[in-house]
Amino acid sequence: MASAGVSSLVVAVLRRDLSAAARRGSEWSNPLVFFIMVCALFPLGIGPQPERLAELAPGILWVVALLASLLASDSVFRGDYDDATLEQMLLSHQPLYPQVIAKTIAHWLLSGLPLSLLSPLLGVLLHLPMAGMGALMASLALGSAVLSFIGAIGAALTVGLRKGGLLLSLIILPLYIPVLIFGSSAVKAAVEAGPYLPQLAMLGVFFLLALALAPLAICGALRISVDQ
């Protein structure tokens, strides 16, 4: 197939997913509300001292963003599976690989990107020093894209099961660990005025690896889930 065909296919899937989400606001707003609420729990649990919160903020923000992305990833293929759109995707003559990439990127635009845009606000609430804000946004934007791809593998494997939610977190969380390590360490390095570009570069490496390899696993997993 010509490259123009593939790119118009990607654009079509992206547009469809984004407009479907725009009509049903909860899909993109729920992870954000979750992010804000859970971040607000930490001062209540740990105590309101600004110094202590500032020290823990990079870790808290990253872990909560990771959980929000995890919860959101259950819905990547759920709706399409329920109304059999997914089956049509598999049966159509269009290649599956670019469609899967488009769906995952749409999911990232609806979950990871808003999280990253909202994160400075929560950084302020948790007394994260201003020096860390840029690294927080950049690492979340890049890291959540990797999380979306990994999460989509889990979502594709569990989409045919009635109770996917908890199982999805069990199989996906161990795979999230490298992203968490490099993401939160980028923020910490920025707060301590150290170099944080190496960590961002590593997240970039993970993103490229995920972009190239994860769709293979997602396609395989979708075929299994739809076949059964």
């Binding site: 109770k163 161990p174 390590i181 696993a217 299994i224 889930s225």
Partner: protein, 253 residues
């Protein structure tokens, strides 16, 4: 015999059941001999460590369990790949059989590590790079088992698990390396299990015995679990019914 005939034969659960049945006594005998012999040798005959005293002796269980736990995951990933690529049902059964064994060995490694850590480091748990990686390996095993149980359809379960296991195998080096990096960033590597390659030959020999014993034990357990799975899956076939009803087996080809 061509390679395809061999391949075909290995794909036949019945043939595998009969073949593995002949292997079992050797594996069982040899692994028990090496494990018990190595343990007695290591626990009673080897001199105590000049620094750690007798507590170092847990190495004779800890190191074999950790090594085999990691090897088991790779075996499981290879079985998963064989199942996905060539649709070999036997590979799926092997894969399913390995998960609980690997998880148990990983748990044993973590437990003996904690027991060893208390007298040596003064604490049950340290967020050391290696310990953390083994903990994550344990989580990976649990994830595979949870996914397998969630499916009603056996074939879908096997394929889904195969995908997950392969994804995990691709990720294991990345996870290991990230944790290593994270650890060196967070705290100085002051704690070492044993000085680099300074283990005395008298201590090493029993370790080799228990290590190879543990590998054989893994193979033994894997065959037993796979055989149970074969019987369960093929329970409607004639040969399993004959086997269960005690009909005399014909000569094995």
């Amino acid at each position: 015999m061509s390679i395809w005939t061999t391949f075909h034969k290995w794909g036949s659960p019945r043939w595998f059941y009969q073949f593995s049945g002949r292997l079992l006594p050797y594996l069982a005998g040899l692994s028990l001999l090496l494990l018990i012999g190595g343990a007695v040798w290591g626990l009673a005959l080897v001199p105590a460590d000049y620094k750690q005293g007798n507590s170092f002796r847990i190495i004779y269980i800890h190191v074999p369990a950790s090594a085999v736990a990691m090897g088991a995951y790779m075996t499981m990933a290879i079985a998963g790949a064989i199942h996905l690529i060539w649709r070999m049902k036997l590979a799926a059964m092997v894969m399913k059989a390995i998960a609980p064994i690997g998880a148990s060995l990983t748990f044993l490694a973590l437990l003996t590590g904690a027991v060893w850590g208390k007298p040596t480091w003064g604490t049950w748990w340290v967020w050391d790079a290696r310990i953390t990686s083994v903990l994550i390996l344990f989580f990976l095993y649990l994830g595979v088992m949870a996914l397998h149980q969630a499916f009603d359809n056996r074939d879908a379960a096997a394929k889904a698990c195969a995908v997950l296991v392969i994804v995990g195998a691709v990720n294991i080096p990345i996870i290991y390396w990230s944790v290593e990096w994270w650890y060196s960033l967070h705290q100085p590597a002051s704690i070492r299990f044993i000085g680099e390659s300074t283990i005395h030959p008298s201590m090493l020999r029993p370790l080799m015995a228990t290590l190879s014993g543990m590998y054989l034990f893994f193979a033994w357990a894997m065959l037993l679990f796979t055989r149970a799975e074969i019987l369960d899956r093929e329970r409607n076939t004639r040969w399993v019914q004959d086997l269960v009803c005690g009909v005399q087996e014909q000569g094995v080809k």
